[in-house]
């Protein structure tokens, strides 16, 4: 990646001596076991109703030629993250060496500006009551398992992925597996038109999943009872 491709000073693309962690998700290998989602829940005690990573699926095709298309989702740890720009109190910040986009819980005022700014819906509001943690009523998100990666471990979802669909590593290191995968395969990122330069790359992602579906139009009102129940239960 050449330096001249950088357009924003916050980007770490090709900066010598700086790590740029990324995840490659090979959707051809994803079997939809949701183990990544469970591992993440176990790692962070993420409350019911919200997820740091989730695996939506869509049944595509016409019988008998049908199949489920999975698209594991998480925070894209963008190189130019709109959530960081929009947070009024710097509660969201980007770690320069590594590119992690993290959250300062003690500073977050809960204005949800970062949630509105995120094109990937990767952020969520923690409910008012949690069993094992006092961190409540602030915005939370995937951290790329910052605490594990800094101990030379891979993120919990990568560790547990049975199909090795998720691969994690430093994109600025040309010898890393993610660099090899991104170089040798046709990859996609979600919503590239937003200019966020995501750090989650997909191999073989289906456009039924990566684009806004036409059927999305009819869904909001259908899902309203679930949303209302969720908000009532968690008092948010």
């Amino acid at each position: 990646m050449s330096e001249e491709l950088r357009v924003s000073p916050i980007e770490t693309r090709g900066v010598a001596g700086k790590k740029r962690y990324a995840m490659v998700v090979d959707t051809r290998r994803c079997i939809g076991c949701m183990a990544c989602q469970v591992a993440c829940k176990a790692e962070y005690d993420t409350p019911l109703g919200v997820n740091r990573t989730w695996v939506p699926y869509k049944v595509v095709g016409t019988y008998p030629n049908v199949k489920k298309q999975f698209l594991p989702r998480l925070c894209n740890h963008c190189d130019d993250p709109p959530c960081v720009r929009n947070c009024p109190v710097d509660a969201t910040y980007k770690v320069e060496d590594g590119g992690f986009v993290l959250q300062r819980y003690e500073r977050c005022i809960g204005c949800r500006s970062c949630m509105a700014a995120c094109p990937y819906n990767a952020r969520f509001m923690l409910p008012a009551h949690r069993t094992y943690s006092s961190i409540t009523r602030v915005v939370d998100k995937c951290t790329f398992c910052f605490h594990r990666v800094t101990q030379n471990l891979v993120p919990a979802c990568v560790q547990t992925c049975v199909g090795r669909s998720r691969v994690f590593g430093d994109l600025n290191d040309p010898t890393s597996e993610v660099s090899w995968l991104v170089t040798r395969n046709a990859t996609q990122v979600l919503r590239p038109e937003e200019g966020t330069k995501p750090h989650v790359f997909y191999i073989g992602a289906d456009r039924n999943q990566t684009e806004f579906g036409r059927d999305a139009y009819s869904k909001p009102e259908v899902m309203e009872p679930e949303r209302s129940a969720f908000k009532r239960h968690f008092k948010i």
Binding site: P82, N86, I109, S113, P119, N121, G195, F212, E221, M223
Partner: protein, 289 residues
């Protein structure tokens, strides 16, 4: 079927739309209070507009703080060590506080009961800071690059036009039978509401000719319950109807009290409806991505 779609909550709820509405009226009233130093016909409105705008600032401020999930941490937005100036919210927090201070000083000056140069200067400062309020709330939406409708440069302009329209409407209701003030205010209402109409046409045109997200958002905005509020309440009742009534009055150079009151109420209804739809509509599609 059998798809598994994870739903996400909308980021900003309806209370934010009420805040936009309140902040728009207070900005408009602040403009009128300053206008009274230049246009003698508006003189009876000077004190009323200034007091009401400060009262609405308190209401709006409380709404904004109550909408935070950590209300007491609103003080973080005033901590110089925390402020992130790339966020319109940070500028907005400073703007609200500055307006509050200027507004209190202005009212203290008004209570002296004389037309001083200092009073006029404070009215100008308050009005300029009030102008920043609809502009910052507009930018609050505009900077979100992934949201159709929000991410258009006309939103701050629309919010300023809505502020002038709704402020003038409240001013008209406050003026009662003052014919000279009503004559000025009906022109303000007419041209600012007409401006709102032009901007809405521009937004709708751009949105319907956009990509998939824009096209779907256009459908969400113009059909179902949202369509009823937007087209029915915001455009037809809240914009087209008052423009027609006020234009008739403009052509005849006279307007009855009923016509003015009806126009003012319709403008306020439309202003509230438009804020609600423009805030909530563009968030729906995103919740399903």
């Amino acid at each position: 079927m059998g798809d598994y779609v994870w739903f996400h909550d909308v980021s900003w709820h309806a209370s934010y739309a009420i805040y936009f509405f309140v902040i728009g009226i207070l900005a408009g009233l602040s403009f009128l209070s300053y206008g009274s130093w230049i246009t003698p016909a508006l003189r009876p409105l000077r004190e009323k507009a200034a007091y009401l705008s400060l009262l609405l600032l308190a209401v709006g401020g409380l709404l904004l703080v109550a909408d935070l999930s950590q209300p007491l941490r609103f003080l973080n937005t005033l901590n110089p060590a925390y402020l992130n100036f790339s966020s319109p919210l940070a500028w907005g927090a400073l703007n609200i506080v500055a307006f509050g201070v200027a507004s209190v000083l202005y009212i203290l000056e008004l209570r002296k009961g004389q037309d001083s140069a200092r009073g006029k200067m404070l009215a100008l400062v308050s009005a300029l800071l009030a102008l920043g309020l609809p502009i910052y709330t507009g930018y609050d939406l505009t900077v979100h690059q992934s949201r159709p409708v929000w991410n258009t440069p006309v939103i701050p302009v629309l919010f300023v036009a809505l502020a002038i329209a709704s402020g003038s409407a409240v001013g008209s209701l406050l003026s009662g039978g003052n014919a000279a003030a009503q004559k000025v205010l009906r022109e303000y209402m007419l041209w600012s509401t007409a401006g709102v109409g032009v901007i809405l046409i521009s937004i709708l045109g751009t949105t319907s000719y956009g990509g998939t997200a824009q096209e779907l958002t256009f459908m969400i905005l113009t059909t179902g319950t949202m369509g009823l509020i937007f087209i029915g309440g915001g455009i037809l009742l809240g914009t087209a109807a008052p423009v027609a009534i006020l234009f008739l009055a403009h052509m005849r150079q006279q307007a009855t009290a009923t016509m003015l009151m009806l126009s003012a109420l319709l403008i306020l209804l439309g202003s509230a409806a438009l804020r609600y739809v423009l805030l909530m509509g563009p968030q729906h599609l995103q919740t399903l991505y």
